[in-house]
């Protein structure tokens, strides 16, 4: 959380650092710029001679995407799955992480380590056995099956991250709250949770990201068009006969929108959360 600079630097060194930062920013931002500009560029221009700045802007891809494809339905599916994943991840990982830090549980280290171990499996390795299980209980090809699959990625991350967060919080704070008149739950809600906001926000953003951008699980779990999520939908646009770049770029831009929004609104907490373990408080 500190922003202090590390002493005096020569003008040359500062210039070099700025230059490097600019290069990195350009390197990461250019594809995003290209995606957005391509989604607004007329077809001929894109195929023949794409200039850095489009000469003419058009919303035609957005119209066709929203009006003539399943994109709106897919967008809604993605949103439902991602929000459900975030909600369940938050509730469960807060409860598990808090329980593991505050109760005397045998083998609590093993629980957390086990969850992280599960996280290390590539999604595809989990997806296939999961699919078989869902098929057995009749959950295959449902959004719920996708939510459950995404939890296998988000829960370990959430528990592990919040575990570190709660562990760093002195227990005396809750005890002080209990002496001050709170119940145990009250102390948690009034003292621990408000202090954990940066961690909670970070976990929520990561969970949303993982679910929102997942392709592998969706590919395995979802068969019907009605239940496809956006990444699946976009992939199926790259058909055998035509490559509708404009539509794909417009679809990609729309996918990125909620992420931008979340980042802009929550970046303050997000950065705090990531550095929380770094500074002794």
């Amino acid at each position: 959380m500190t922003t202090g600079s590390t002493g005096r630097r020569s003008p040359f060194a500062s210039a070099a650092i700025y230059l490097a930062a600019a290069a990195i920013a350009l390197y990461s931002a250019f594809p995003i710029y290209w995606m957005i500009s391509s989604s607004l560029r007329p077809t001929q221009e894109m195929l023949t001679a794409p200039s850095l700045v489009p000469s003419r802007l058009t919303l035609q891809y957005y119209y066709s995407l929203l009006a003539q494809t399943d994109y709106p339905q897919q967008f809604l599916n993605s949103l439902v799955v991602a929000l459900a994943t975030v909600a369940i991840t938050m509730v469960l990982s807060v409860m598990i992480a808090y329980g593991v830090t505050r109760q005397r549980i045998r083998g609590k280290k093993a629980i957390v380590a086990g969850m992280l171990y599960a996280y290390m499996f590539p999604p595809l390795l989990l997806a296939i056995p999961l699919y078989t299980m869902f098929a057995l209980v009749g959950l295959n090809d449902t959004l719920l099956s996708l939510v459950i699959s995404h939890l296998t990625m988000t829960m370990p991350l959430g528990v592990w991250f919040l575990w570190g967060f709660f562990k760093a919080m002195p227990f005396e704070l809750e005890e002080a709250a209990m002496v001050d008149g709170c119940t145990r739950l009250g102390a948690f809600l009034r003292v621990v949770l408000p202090l954990s906001v940066p961690g909670l926000v970070t976990v929520a953003i990561f969970a949303f990201l993982l679910s929102w951008t997942d392709y592998t699980f969706a590919l395995v779990m979802i068969g019907s068009d009605a239940n496809k999520t956006v990444p699946l939908g976009l992939a199926s646009m790259i058909g055998a006969f035509d490559l509708r770049w404009g539509d794909i770029m417009a679809g990609s831009t729309l996918i990125a929108l909620p992420l931008f929004a979340a980042f802009v609104m929550l970046s303050r907490y997000f950065v705090q959360g990531l550095t929380a373990g770094a500074v002794k408080g």
Binding site: L173, E175, A176, M178, D180, G181, C182, P194, L195
Partner: protein, 360 residues
């Protein structure tokens, strides 16, 4: 009637006994200090009174009410933690108001009480800051203030000064003593620092390995330590303790030297104790070869030996004694403490008549 009563309170963690049958009655306005080395069960005892640890067996009464199994919030207590435990996300004002708000005190009245307490502690100018903007001493005051506004039946303080530097510690110690007298409530204060205990306490409870060793006023435990442990723990520099034998009205130290025995001492093996400040220079007494001289300003401490045994002597200021010298020391027989060498318990002597300190 006692404001707080601990009746045979025990705490065990599995097979480990942390606190062994503590019984104690605390009057209104009394300041009790729990004193003992680290790990002796002071904090556990305090936390059982607070309700932060369950009581394995025994009964706890606060204000005449059996609170043994009540939640902390229902016990009418306030606590000050060693690390202050201020809520980092709240302002100082909100920190101090929180307990009142939780108890449904009217906001206007709560604000008034917070202002009054802040005034008393000299922290009015800090009320709108956040805890991280405060120094250690200021946080200490806020933690006291947060307890103070609650106006509980008993204040519980767990090593509240141990995170402060030495100078501030002395000042806060004095302030706490004044504050406690002014508000006239019962207080239990935990420390491992015997100076804090001696200066603050109405009565000291000395603990070791979960057991109460002695309960008494500071000068009672100083004058009549119940056993060898208390004798060594209370007083600075430490009491000189020697293996010795009583014979013919003399205490014969195992090194060969002799001190006069107190009246009524029976012949036999003993542990003899004499405080450094009770020893004085004499013409003919125990020969002490001085190994080091520590000048403390108004006093001079001689660190030396009698044969194999170490001995310390505290004198009024002396500029003329050098290391390497040999001096003769002795003590008033009434100032010599005798203990059973096996049980380490105090052996009764004539000067103990009218002993009011209790042995738990």
């Amino acid at each position: 009637m006692a404001e707080v009563s601990l009746r045979t309170i025990r705490k065990t963690y599995g097979s480990v006994t942390a606190v062994e049958e503590v019984s104690l009655d605390i009057a209104r306005g009394e300041l009790i200090v729990l004193l003992g080395p680290s790990g002796c069960g002071k904090s556990t005892t305090l936390r059982m009174v607070a309700g932060l640890e369950t009581i394995t067996s025994g009964t706890l009464l606060i204000g005449g009410r059996d609170v043994t199994s009540l939640e902390p919030k229902d016990r009418d207590i306030a606590m000050v933690f060693q690390n202050y435990a201020l809520y980092p996300h709240k302002t100082i004002r909100a920190n101090m108001t929180f307990g009142l708000k939780m108890r449904g005190v009217e906001p206007a009245l709560a604000a008034e009480r917070v202002e009054a307490a802040a005034e008393m502690l000299g922290i009015t100018h800090l009320l709108d800051r956040k805890p991280r903007q405060l120094s250690g001493g200021q946080m200490q005051r806020v933690a006291l203030g947060r307890a103070l506004v609650r106006d509980p039946a008993v204040f519980l303080l767990d090593e509240p000064l141990s995170n402060l530097d030495a100078k501030l510690r002395v000042r806060m110690r004095e302030e706490i003593a004044l504050l406690q007298k002014r508000i006239g409530k019962a207080m239990i204060y935990v420390t491992h620092d015997q100076t804090e205990a001696m200066t603050l306490a109405d009565r000291i409870v000395i603990m070791r390995d979960g057991r109460v060793q002695q309960i008494g006023a500071p000068l009672e435990v100083y004058d009549r330590p119940q056993n060898v442990f208390v004798a060594g723990f209370i007083g600075s520099p430490e009491m000189n303790l020697f293996q010795a034998e009583i014979a013919g009205g003399l205490v014969r130290l195992d090194g060969g030297a002799t001190l006069p025995a107190p009246d009524g001492a029976r012949d036999g093996r003993v542990v003899a104790g004499v405080r450094p400040e009770a020893l004085e220079l004499v013409d003919r007494g125990v020969p002490l070869s001085v190994r080091a001289v520590e000048q403390l300003g108004s006093q001079t401490l001689l660190v030396g030996g009698v044969g194999e045994m170490g001995m310390r002597v505290m004198l009024g200021r002396r500029d003329d004694i050098r290391a390497g010298a040999t001096v003769h020391v002795s003590a008033d027989p009434a100032a010599i403490h005798l203990f059973d060498p096996v049980t380490e318990e105090r052996l009764p002597s004539a000067s103990d008549a009218g002993d009011r300190s209790t042995r738990a």
